[in-house]
Amino acid sequence: MGEDTLYQKTFTITGSDFDKAGEVSTQIKAILKAAGLDSTVIRRVASASFEAEMNVVIHADRGKIDFELTPTAIVLTIDDEGPGIEDLELAMKEGYSTASDDMREMGFGAGMGLPNIKKSSDDFHLESEVGKGTTLRITIKHDEQ
């Protein structure tokens, strides 16, 4: 927890648990509302968080979302254990997806998750080790509106 952290909370995510998928992002949205942030910022954070949460549910075994609120930004660190991503550049391409047809039937697997997260973030950092897992760290500023 950093010097200027106003609030920090860690949530766990279970891979392939489609009943609970999205719960963490609903909770994060509630926290941001309680913190009185601008609704546009809240929507950006909640959407990015939801895409990242779904990526763990769909593509990984288990993971954590670390939420941090500072006076100027929201920092989300999504850390998972799973297959990892072999080619980060390819994964960032719009439309690239390895999701199965089952996932597509649930409305995911358009290959737009990571590109959309990047678009809505002020800072985006993706790191992965094949066979181990993936870490995504995004920052969304909230003091400029």
């Binding site: 999205g22 929507r43 895409e51 649930m106 409305g107 959309n116 678009k119």
Partner: protein
């Protein structure tokens, strides 16, 4: 337009009815939730054929006013319960996607783009 007007235009049934009758500012028709998450505006009506719980989660996260399912589709009870918990009205219409959008467009609603 109010949600009750949408209900009348599409001869829709309520699956989850919240206390309020929200103003519908615009529409978003999609089966891919990433599209909704990327482009949705607050107060939008989500028109979709996707009945998984993710349709409700996506609508909530993107501040949609309500969700209407096409072709008489209905999500399962668990998903309806989730919408109740999130105070998100759900409707279902027998119209297909194209006709549902056409009717609402003619009635004055515009898409999010």
């Amino acid at each position: 337009m109010k949600l009750t007007d949408v209900q009348k235009h599409l001869n829709a049934k309520y699956l989850c009815l919240d206390g309020s009758d929200p103003e519908i500012s615009c529409c978003m028709a999609a089966d891919m939730m990433s599209d909704v998450l990327a482009y949705a505006e607050a107060g939008a009506l989500l028109i979709t054929g996707l009945i998984s719980s993710q349709s409700v989660r996506t609508a909530d996260v993107s501040d949609a006013a309500a969700v209407i399912y096409i072709r008489g589709k209905r999500p399962d009870e668990k998903t309806i319960k989730l919408a109740e918990d999130l105070n998100l009205p759900l409707l279902t219409t027998d119209e297909c996607m194209f006709d549902a959008c056409g009717v609402l467009y003619k009635a004055g609603l515009k898409g999010v783009c």
